[in-house]
């Protein structure tokens, strides 16, 4: 397939996944706010930290991390490239440039989502209760789009680039959420078990849609198990290990190289990253320091992304001297 098309498919999926994650984070925070008894802690500021774009937010709004400012920034601000609106718009622009390579239902779905979000943007940020349904819609849109992709498109090279983009984005987002929330909760680790902290931990799991599945696996809320689950559970579809493993499978489908070996830089880097995770334990990670671990994980995801660009997307010059 064309390099340009592969690039666009990869990014279309990263943007869709990003929009979905941001909606989930906002939805969870809205819930948390409703359950919170007193305003002892501002959830919204930490949400901006999850994005890694706190500086940009401060430039726009100063230190006013009120719900209105944060939700508007993360949802509708077109000057912020990772807002939901920006992501959906970028996903649609990418889809528009490769309409011939994706299926019509995929294009029509993404187009309708864009229309919906842009109409909401024109009406402005909805009140909290209405907002719930808007963010639920966007969140579901991500899964619907993935379902449409799976069911209307051949599971070919283009489809594997879709999955690759989606899974790397997901690995990155789950790790960011874990990093920030864990950091906030850490000082009060000895107080684990108070109802308020319990809510916070539940919110963290919900941010990866992982709450119910965590309960099935471990039962009690326990920080060490939560880290173990979100980083290392191989079966739950939003954990870091699962995402990276799926990405690796797609990458090898694209090149035809057997798993466990590599034929290009992207495969080498992703293979190293996956094995490092697969052979770690929650205790290792916590004793090394979760923040350092995740920081290094995120850098490596960026390196993989860069290697994918160099291997597949970069417009190669014509062969010289032939």
């Amino acid at each position: 397939m064309l390099s340009r098309v592969a690039d666009a498919i990869y990014w279309m999926n990263r943007y869709m996944e990003r929009a979905e994650n941001t909606s989930r984070f906002i939805g969870v925070t809205l819930n948390l706010m409703l359950e919170q008894q007193d305003n002892q802690f501002n959830q919204w500021g930490s949400l901006v930290q999850v994005t890694g774009d706190y500086d940009l937010f401060v430039k726009r709004h100063g230190n006013d991390t009120s719900m209105e400012k944060v939700v508007d920034f993360l949802t509708f601000d077109l000057t912020y490239p990772s807002s939901i609106y920006s992501c959906v718009r970028a996903a649609r622009e990418n889809a528009r440039s490769i309409r011939e390579s994706i299926s019509s239902p995929m294009w029509e779905y993404i187009n309708r989502l864009y229309i919906k979000v842009s109409e909401q943007a024109r009406h402005g940020t909805p009140a909290v209760l209405d907002a719930q349904s808007f963010f639920t819609d966007v969140l579901l849109a991500g899964s619907l789009f993935n379902g449409i992709t799976d069911n209307t498109m051949s599971h070919n090279e283009a489809w594997n680039f879709s999955l690759l983009g989606r899974m790397l984005e997901r690995a990155d987002k789950t790790s960011r959420m874990l990093d920030v929330k864990y950091f906030i909760l850490l000082p009060s680790l000895q107080d684990v078990g108070t109802p308020y902290d319990e809510l916070q931990w539940i919110a963290l799991l919900s941010s990866a849609s992982a709450y119910e599945m965590y309960r099935k696996r471990y039962g009690r809320i326990d920080p060490r198990n939560i880290v173990g689950f979100l980083v290392l559970d191989p079966g739950f579809p939003r954990t870091m290990l699962h995402s990276v493993t799926q990405a690796e499978i797609s990458l090898h489908q694209i090149s035809g190289t057997p798993l466990g070996t590599y034929s290009n830089l992207a495969e080498q880097r992703l293979g190293q990253l996956r094995s490092e995770l697969a052979f770690s334990s929650a205790d290792d990670i916590i004793s090394r320091g979760l923040h350092e671990f995740i920081d290094s994980f995120q850098n490596k995801v960026n390196d993989v992304d860069e290697a994918i660009f160099k291997t597949f997307f970069e417009l190669r010059p014509m062969p010289s001297g032939e």
Partner: protein, 492 residues
């Protein structure tokens, strides 16, 4: 829907004869429309528009620093052609394309028609779109006009004439296909009763044709569609056609020439390309041969084309036959190359480079339509009767300064069709653009795109000038249905 206040206003109406009765082929449609309430019709119209919007069949307009996507205006009342008339149109188009193709082959090679003084040499060589680079070139199978979108209009007495040939990059076929998809949801019952001739096999025919004209036939050729990119106003069509054919849509930057062939850049390296359905104009297609400032094209493409190692559809150099002065000679071409009488006439045309015609044009600017010879899309045009004195004077100066560049035609009383205006119907002027594919044989898509001037009284149907479109149905002349009309609801 009440037609009592609908008035032909003395124009030829596609749906109603002069006595106000529906034409035979339109009878079933008329009855169906009558059975609908005004509210139903408006609702159908809105649901069709919503469907087109959701399908993303839109173009982008910029206002107040904001970009908004809009659909191309579409009216759900179809334009109907009886099959007897259609068969004549089809024959006429095939005849015309055959002659035009022979003309292009001739003027870039033997030049018999010039030597026999049927067409003055100067007329051809002074055409801005004549390409000296194509001298001595014969495209594969001698085919130049692979895809044509001929513009037909009715004169005051209802005869269909050819207004323009459009042998370069005619657009609009995708709207025919998408309009049809929406219409089948809007009037499903009527559709099956009338047995409207299908258009859905167009993409398949297009792909067959493109594979047929490939340089070598021993393997399955790689066909691509070449687009200027997502900011082009016809981008939707480029991507739609590529998708429907199942081929890659490429931009200039995806293609590279080396080792004497054209290649596209893929994730697994370079892949050879055999046929390019190009939607980039001659001027921009190869900066090494044509405009050197083009960033849309592919450097070196023309050389590969000239050596017969890639096919371009349409051929380079076709524009000379689209020149509006050359157009005036097409009837003569048909007689010269085919020894036949033209089936579809031209619109009478005055050539300003001829002194006699010129003085007639200058004396009658208030009655004529004046056009620049090398423009299309409704640009560079004066509609005399609707123009101001100042506009007419400006054109007078331009004609005198550069007579070769202008022609004039009588202001045609284009035929009209009913369109929905708020809660009632009004007549609006239309043309018809059928699409013709020239491969192993010549295929004409039944019907084509009906373009409609939505502004009251306007004669300019181009989408760039406020025009919309309608689905075009070719049906049996009897136009019968069984007369019973069960209620139908759009699926959309």
């Amino acid at each position: 829907m009440d037609f009592n206040h609908y008035n032909n206003d003395g124009f030829y109406d596609e749906m109603f004869a002069h006595d106000g009765k529906p034409r035979p082929a339109c009878k079933a449609l008329f009855e169906r429309l009558q059975s609908l309430s005004e509210g139903d019709l408006v609702r159908y119209q809105q649901s069709a528009e919503r469907a087109l919007y959701n399908m993303g069949i839109t173009f982008r307009v910029y206002k107040d620093n904001e970009s908004v996507d809009q659909i191309f205006p579409f009216d759900i009342i179809p334009r109907i052609l009886g099959d007897r008339e259609w068969r004549r149109v089809e024959k006429g188009l095939i005849q015309r394309i055959t002659a035009l193709n022979l003309f292009l082959q001739d003027i870039y090679n033997e030049k018999k028609i010039l030597k026999d003084r049927i067409i003055p040499k100067d007329v051809v060589y002074s055409a801005a779109s004549y390409r000296p680079e194509c001298e001595g070139l014969t495209p594969l199978h001698g085919i130049w006009c692979h895809i044509t979108g001929t513009d037909l209009v009715r004169d005051g007495s209802g005869n269909l004439c050819v207004l323009e040939d459009n042998l370069r990059c005619p657009s609009g076929a995708s709207y025919v296909l998408e309009n049809r998809r929406v219409m089948m949801n809007t009037f499903p019952k009527l559709f099956s009763d009338l047995r409207v001739k299908p258009v859905s096999d167009y993409a398949g025919k297009l792909l067959d044709m493109l594979q047929y004209v490939a340089p070598e036939s021993s393997y399955t050729p790689t066909v691509v569609v070449l687009t200027p990119g997502i900011y082009n106003s016809a981008y939707f069509e480029h991507s739609f056609m590529a998708q429907q054919m199942g081929v890659e849509l490429v931009e200039g930057r995806d293609l590279v020439v080396f080792d004497g062939y054209v290649h596209m850049r893929t994730t697994t390296g370079f892949q050879r390309v055999d046929v390019i359905y190009r939607r980039i104009d001659d001027d921009f297609i190869d900066p090494l041969t044509f405009r050197s400032d083009s960033i849309l094209g592919v450097p070196g493409l023309f050389q590969v084309y000239k050596e017969g190692r890639v096919t371009l559809a349409n051929a380079i150099g076709n524009g000379v036959a689209d020149d509006k002065v050359v157009y005036a000679y097409v009837e003569k071409m048909i007689r010269y190359y085919l020894d036949e009488d033209p089936i579809l006439p031209n619109v009478p045309t005055y050539l300003c480079w001829q002194p006699g015609d010129r003085s007639h044009v200058l004396e009658n600017l208030d009655q004529l339509v004046v056009k620049a010879a090398n423009e299309s899309g409704g640009y560079g045009m004066l509609v005399g009767p609707h123009a101001t004195q100042a506009e007419r004077e400006a054109f007078r100066a331009r004609i005198v300064a550069n007579p070769r560049n202008y022609i004039a035609q009588p202001t045609l009383e284009l035929s009209r069709v009913p369109v929905i205006c708020g809660d009632h119907l009004e007549g609006r002027h239309v043309d018809l653009r059928p699409y013709i594919l020239y491969g192993r044989d010549i295929y004409v898509l039944p019907g084509g795109l009906t373009r409609v001037a939505l502004k009251k009284g306007s004669l300019v149907v181009n989408s760039s000038q406020g025009g919309g479109s309608k689905d075009t149905w070719v049906v049996m002349d009897s136009g019968t249905s069984d007369g019973t009309q069960p209620a139908e609801t759009p699926h959309a």
